[in-house]
């Protein structure tokens, strides 16, 4: 994304208005925008830590420049005069060298600059340092120029900056007079310029909001009603604190091993390997967790955190009922009050889990609104939380919701990926070539993937639900078919119509039947680190049978999506490669569906 520099700042309120920019500039050369070093120092204090502070000079001495660099302090220096290369070389911080562009010959000169960045401007009039006039941007097209060091200036304003960016693809745009009214900076113009330069309103949140914490690229944030802001902020602080507390971590791991039964094996699937005829297949066995799925890893972490915050009432949503069961279980263990919202439709198809929750002492509330599935259950859980926020913790079940939930849930689920990494290194002495996990909201997948994200050689593949097919109306393929939008407290990818109404999702698997995907996955999809494929109901069912018969492991319907995708993946892999599948849960809960759908099975 193109960076933005607001130059020639002289007043406090303008520095603040530029808080969403990437750089601010102070002019130390003769100009009507000139400031003293002391003034620049004062103004600089108002800017964010990660803001670049750039000093603009015209034929100043090395001593003058160094003095300003140290005092303000400046993070970059911009030179507009006839500074010799020796001077540029001596300056310790990165240097921007400015050039006026009139003719194609001027463009040629740019490549000879030894500066870190080159700034191109229209020829100045009264004094050097830019005139506010536009030069012919097309001069920069089709010439041999490194655009990653290009800074575009000269006559930019909120109306032309987008066109300028698309024509010249610069590293940064630089504006001064274009955000002024009657010779003075204008706060609204500054903000509008930044918005325009950074693309549509949403792209603006990318990497940079007032509080960049809680965003994955452009996704995430805290889009909740004001009543919840206090709780969300408190949770953010409490989690930050707990995360770095050894005692908390010790307790969490204690329950994972003593109660959940971790660590879970990474099982070599010999018969599947043989049947598929490709890579060696390993299964990460989250199905062996107490309560039958990965969900409990997160439920324990959050329940411990809730108690640390003095909250003894828990509300949760559930789709397949696995998260509801995990939450009800942990609430029984810790003697916490538990309400679980579950869609009417899901209650029908996950009867066994409903009964388990009740047996464990939880109150299960049926949600009849909308499609009566997970989305509607989250809505009701959020409403319940808004109303009972002072003493209740919302124990969200996937890597969704307002910050800090997506990060926190990911961290608690990362135990899956960390164990897998250790185990595969033990067994094979190297990392796997590919890993497949199913994605509903995305918690088992992000927990599995996160420890491998920086290992670029490991291919990461998410399997989402194609329902009856991505070209039908009945699917839950958010990454294949969705677009960005705000739902349940976060900017993420959702299935929606042209008017921004969220659509109903469809999947045979209750746990994948959700029209959104958590913010971190949305980001990983955009940047290409993880690829996402859609698996139909029928493909998933076929995989249930295949794995049951080949390995004696009956997978959950959700996990079966990962298995079906892995089978496709295996086709293009060779015998010396390694493929890991996250078996997120076991199939007990789905037995009624299996009995019905697989009737006549011989």
């Amino acid at each position: 994304m193109t960076r933005v520099k607001i130059c020639g700042l002289m007043e406090e309120q303008h520095v603040k208005a530029a808080s969403q920019a990437d750089a601010i500039g102070f002019v130390f050369a003769p100009s009507k925008r000139r400031v003293s070093i002391e003034r620049a120092q004062e103004l600089s204090r108002l800017a964010n830590n990660d803001m670049q502070r750039i000093g603009v000079f015209v034929n100043a001495s090395y001593e003058e420049i160094e003095k300003a660099v140290k005092a303000v302090p400046l993070t970059m220096v911009q030179l507009h005069g006839d500074e010799p290369d020796e001077l540029i070389q001596r300056i310790e911080v990165p240097v921007i060298q400015a050039f006026s562009i009139r003719t194609p010959d001027d463009v040629e000169k740019l490549n000879n600059s030894i500066a870190d960045y080159i700034l191109v401007d229209a020829p100045g009039t009264d004094y050097r340092g830019g005139s506010g006039h536009v030069f012919d941007w097309s001069l920069l097209e089709n010439v041999n120029l490194d655009h990653s060091r290009l800074i575009l200036a000269g006559g930019l304003n909120r109306d032309n900056v987008r066109a300028a960016i698309s024509q010249t693809a610069p590293f940064m745009v630089d504006v001064s007079s274009g955000v002024e009214t009657d010779g003075r900076k204008d706060e609204a113009k500054i903000q509008q310029f930044i918005l325009q330069a950074k693309g549509d309103s949403m792209e603006r949140t990318q990497e940079k909001t007032i509080d960049p914490v809680g965003f994955f690229g452009r996704y995430g944030g805290q889009f909740v009603p004001e009543t919840l802001m206090k709780a969300v902020k408190e949770l953010e602080a409490a989690y930050e604190d707990a995360k770095n507390d050894d005692e908390f971590q010790k307790e969490y791991h204690h329950y994972l091993s003593e109660y959940v039964g971790r660590e879970q094996p990474l099982t070599f699937a010999a018969r599947m390997t043989e049947a598929w005829g490709g890579p060696k297949i390993y299964l990460k066995r989250e199905d062996l967790n107490h309560t039958g799925a990965h969900k409990v890893n997160n439920a324990i972490g959050q329940a411990l955190l809730a108690q640390r915050m003095g909250k003894r009432k828990i509300v949760a949503e559930t789709g397949a009922g696995q998260h509801g069961v995990a939450t009800a279980t942990i609430c029984a263990l810790f003697d916490l009050d538990c309400v679980v919202f579950m869609g009417e439709e899901d209650i029908k198809r996950q009867q066994l889990n409903v009964f388990r929750m009740k047996l464990l002492g939880a109150r299960v509330e049926s949600v009849t609104k909308g499609s009566g599935t997970l989305k509607d259950a989250v809505n009701e859980a959020l409403r319940y939380w808004v109303t009972n926020v002072e003493d209740t913790h919302y124990l969200i079940g996937s890597a969704l919701g307002p910050h800090p939930f997506p990060t926190m849930v990911r961290d608690f689920q990362s135990v899956i990926g960390k164990e897998t990494k250790r185990q595969i290194l033990d067994k094979e002495g190297r990392l796997p070539d590919a890993i497949v996990a199913c994605v509903g909201g995305g918690s088992n997948a992000i927990g599995m993937f996160h420890p491998f994200v920086d290992d670029e050689k490991v291919r990461l593949i998410g399997a989402e639900a194609a329902g009856e097919g991505v070209d039908t109306e009945r699917h839950a393929a958010t990454l294949t078919k969705g677009s960005e939008g705000v739902l349940h407290g976060a900017m993420m990818k959702i299935l929606q119509d042209d008017a921004g109404q969220v659509q109903e999702a469809h999947s045979i698997s209750a746990g994948l039947d959700y029209p959104g995907i958590g913010p971190e996955h949305a980001h990983l999809a955009d940047n290409g680190r993880v690829t996402y494929e859609a698996i139909t109901d029928d493909e998933a069912l076929a995989s249930v049978i295949e794995m049951s018969r080949l390995e004696g492991i009956i997978p959950a319907l959700e996990s079966a999506h990962a298995i079906a995708q892995a089978k496709k993946q295996a086709q293009s892999m060779t015998a010396d490669e390694l493929l890991v599948i996250c078996v997120s849960g076991r199939g007990d809960k789905d037995m009624a569906t299996y009995a019905e759908k697989l009737e006549g099975l011989s």
């Binding site: 609204a188 903000q191 009603p225 004001e226 009543t227 802001m229 206090k230 609104k369 409403r383 109303t387």
Partner: protein, 256 residues
């Protein structure tokens, strides 16, 4: 919106009516606005239906679903408002969840809302932290972005929000979602008093206001009242006259 400040100076209380645009068909929108302004309401919030209205209780959610069944969209509402053939005499404020705005385009939304005669925008799931997504565009069109403050808003945050408040401040009088209530909590009076002391603009109480007893309880501590669910339900059931005593209770001159 200036009118709201003047009203406050004159010592009158404001009555802000919330309606669900397109509940009963898009043609109802103009009729309802005309009716309400004739009945002397101070301003009208035009609600846009949304599939997942997590800040709303059953009454407004049901109204929204009816409107969605009529095919109502943000775009249709703004179009309809641009075609009104009567004089709109009171400030209109668009109340919408964020996602339809993002889908429509923030800049386009503010432009069209302006053309539609709106004076302000309320977005309940756009917190103060993320207001930059909309505010610069709203400013460009001279629309105010109304902020909400609630019983759970901590003091330091309250000050920050109120410092920048424009138009009016929406003081949420329940810890919960929209919908009629029998009683308001005791602490609400202290809360609205505090908000009013800090706020540069009028402070209106909303969420749960549905009875004259609520108005009596808070009259001295707010500059006006916002009534939603009670009005939406009365329009739906064809008995809007029932609301008139409530409007009068708020707007009638009151001896102190």
């Amino acid at each position: 919106m200036k009118r709201l400040a003047e009203l406050k100076q004159a010592g009158h209380k404001a009555f802000v009516a919330y309606i669900m645009a397109g509940d009963g068909g898009i043609k109802k929108l103009g009729e309802q606005i005309q009716y309400l302004q004739e009945r002397g309401v101070t301003a009208i919030e035009v609600g846009i239906p949304f599939s997942d209205p997590v800040a709303d209780g059953p009454t407004i959610e049901a109204a929204g679903n009816r409107a969605l069944d009529e095919g109502i969209t943000l775009e249709k509402v703004l179009d309809e408002m641009q075609r009104f053939d009567f004089e709109v005499k009171v400030p209109l404020v668009i109340m919408t969840y964020l996602n339809p705005v993002i889908r429509f385009g923030a800049e386009r939304f503010t432009q069209e809302a302006k053309k539609a005669g709106a004076s302000g925008v309320i977005i309940p799931d756009l917190p103060f932290e993320h207001r930059q997504l909309i505010e610069p565009f709203a400013k460009q069109q001279e629309l105010v972005l109304i902020q909400l403050v609630t019983l759970t808003t901590i003091d330091s945050r309250l000050e920050e929000i109120l410092k920048e408040a424009q138009g009016f401040v929406y003081a949420v009088t329940v810890t919960g979602i929209t919908g009629s209530r029998d009683e308001l909590a005791e602490e609400v009076g202290a809360f609205t008093r505090k908000v009013r002391e800090l706020s540069p603009v009028p402070v209106y109480a909303g969420f749960g206001i549905s009875k004259e007893s609520h108005v009596d309880m808070l009259r001295d501590d707010v500059d006006g009242f916002i009534v939603g669910s009670a009005i939406v339900q009365a329009f739906h059931e064809g008995r809007i006259e029932d609301i008139e005593p409530l409007i009068d209770a708020v707007t009638a001159p009151h001896s102190v």
